[in-house]
Symmetry: C2
Subunit: 309 residues, 2 copies
């Protein structure tokens, strides 16, 4: 067993349209890289943090060490770890930045401990890391980052997560505008109550999206990528949102929505060629308005967290 490993933890899209708070998917290539090393003392220490500012190095506040600590507490282990973090997902992008770090940390530590837990079992510990960053222990980013693919949280209490089959040709386009949307603001703007009729419309789409993914019915996926509850409220926080989404739809996207709590906006398309056209169309809207952006085109990452060289 190697005493030091390097882990890739993918970025993720959560709040997949109608699947607010329950559906998430993992991206390829874009994600955090962590180097995790067993140490001889009982401490968890954070070494270098590259690629992002204002990430705490205090192990009681850093999501990586908090997540690993939760795992160690669960098995009563006093093992020490040293973690170096290379962040390739900007915090506050809506692409699960803290979730990737949490997921990668517990994935790596678990490997170094001889795999006492399955990836699915690691979700609960990664959630504790998420909690350190965002107050609430969400699973809709950490689950796809760990497991890869398209995941659904059936229930938080008890925690019950399952993976959904999806068509190979389903490609994500993500546009990350260089503006800040605070997750706390995005949460505050949501009303605690919703109309029953809207909730019913939403779960009609949730059922259809689930069925469309599993049966590879792109028509059903296209018709069900709707969100009558969160998008109308949160999209006002994102500059050019409607224009950007419309441009993506006009370019052939099946649908799209806010990624996480934004400001990243995602679209899903059938095939890479369409996804690229969608990306060009969406980013052109931002360029025209003088807003800097990053653009990612990605298959759904089927693997999730993995060891790299």
């Amino acid at each position: 067993m190697s005493e030091k490993i390097r882990v890739f933890a993918p970025a993720t899209i959560a709040n997949v349209a109608c699947g607010f708070d329950i559906m998430g998917l993992a991206l390829e290539k874009v994600g955090d890289q962590l180097t995790i090393q067993k140490t001889d003392d009982e401490r968890l220490t954070i070494g270098s943090i590259i690629g992002a500012e204002n990430i705490p190095t205090d192990p009681t506040k850093n999501v990586c060490s908090v997540a690993i600590q939760a795992m160690l507490d669960h098995i009563g282990s006093k093992q020490g770890f040293h973690i170096d973090i290379s962040k390739n997902i900007s915090p506050g992008s809506g692409l699960g930045s803290s979730a990737s770090s949490s997921a990668g940390a517990v994935y790596g530590a678990n490997m170094l401990l001889g795999k006492p837990f399955t990836k699915k079992e690691l979700v609960q510990f990664a959630m504790e890391g998420e909690k350190a960053a965002s107050e609430k222990a969400h699973a809709d980013n950490v689950a796809p980052s760990l497991l890869g693919g398209f995941t659904v949280i059936r229930s938080y209490d008890p925690l019950d997560i399952f993976s959904v089959h999806y068509p190979e040709e389903l490609i994500a386009t993500v546009v990350f505008p260089a503006v800040e949307v605070k997750t706390a603001d995005a949460k505050k703007i949501l009303k605690p109550e919703v109309a029953l009729s809207d909730a019913i419309a939403q779960w009609g789409n949730v059922s259809a999206l689930t069925a469309g993914l599993i049966t590879e019915d792109f028509g059903l996926i296209e018709r069900s990528l709707q969100d009558v509850i969160v998008e109308p409220v949160r999209s006002i926080l994102i500059p050019c949102y409607q224009e950007m989404k419309q441009a993506g739809m006009d370019a052939g996207a099946l649908g799209g929505n806010i990624s996480g709590s934004g400001p990243s906006v995602f679209a899903l398309s059938k095939g890479k060629e369409t996804a690229e056209k969608v990306g060009q169309a969406m980013s052109a809207v931002l360029a025209k308005n003088g807003i800097a952006y990053e653009l990612f085109i990605s298959k759904i990452n089927p693997v999730g967290c993995e060891i790299i060289n």
Copy 2:
């Protein structure tokens, strides 16, 4: 083309647990029988009605003729039909009594007209019949009665219905207590707003139930047959509801809920043997409390409306 046909239109369970207002399934054997005959004049007439009282014979009020009229209006036809109705589903049972009649009527008339419409296209006309009986044009009973199987209403506007694969071994138990629950009361008792957190819990289960059915994952079906929104409110209208449901669960049911707006209560089980034990346990609760009941054990009917001899 025969000028007179006999149609069987199955009873249905709507509001399948978390799938309130969107999910329904068709039952075997129990259902309405209609005899539909082409006539030489332009009138729609209702002949005998067997098996239920207080069903209107006025063709502007009877669900069968109202539904057929909607279909005829759509194609500009003046064809007359005479309909005899044998009701084997009690109105007010929660098993889609008026929906079966509406579905069977348009199915039969469509056959006699040379099938201008698919079964799925007939749903919109059957909904007009439903509207005559219950003010609102619901599709969650007429769709499974027409199409058979397990159906989901993704959207009402535009109307978008799809069929979901389900495991062959999934068996329904239905207990119909001889008490009256007015649909109007059952609707009134629902609040127009729900907590966002409850809505999210519900659509987590909706996604899981859809996936569980399609992938034949009985564990997932069992965990997702939950309803945090409607059951807690409506179940108080049904005598011995909690005790009956618990007895069913103790006997091995995967889950259960109120069928439609009640008072029928359904359970779903893996295999006929379990479904029968569940039926015995549930009906024993009613017997103990001196409440008369009817009990049905049924596979999911894959066919829907059909011509019989």
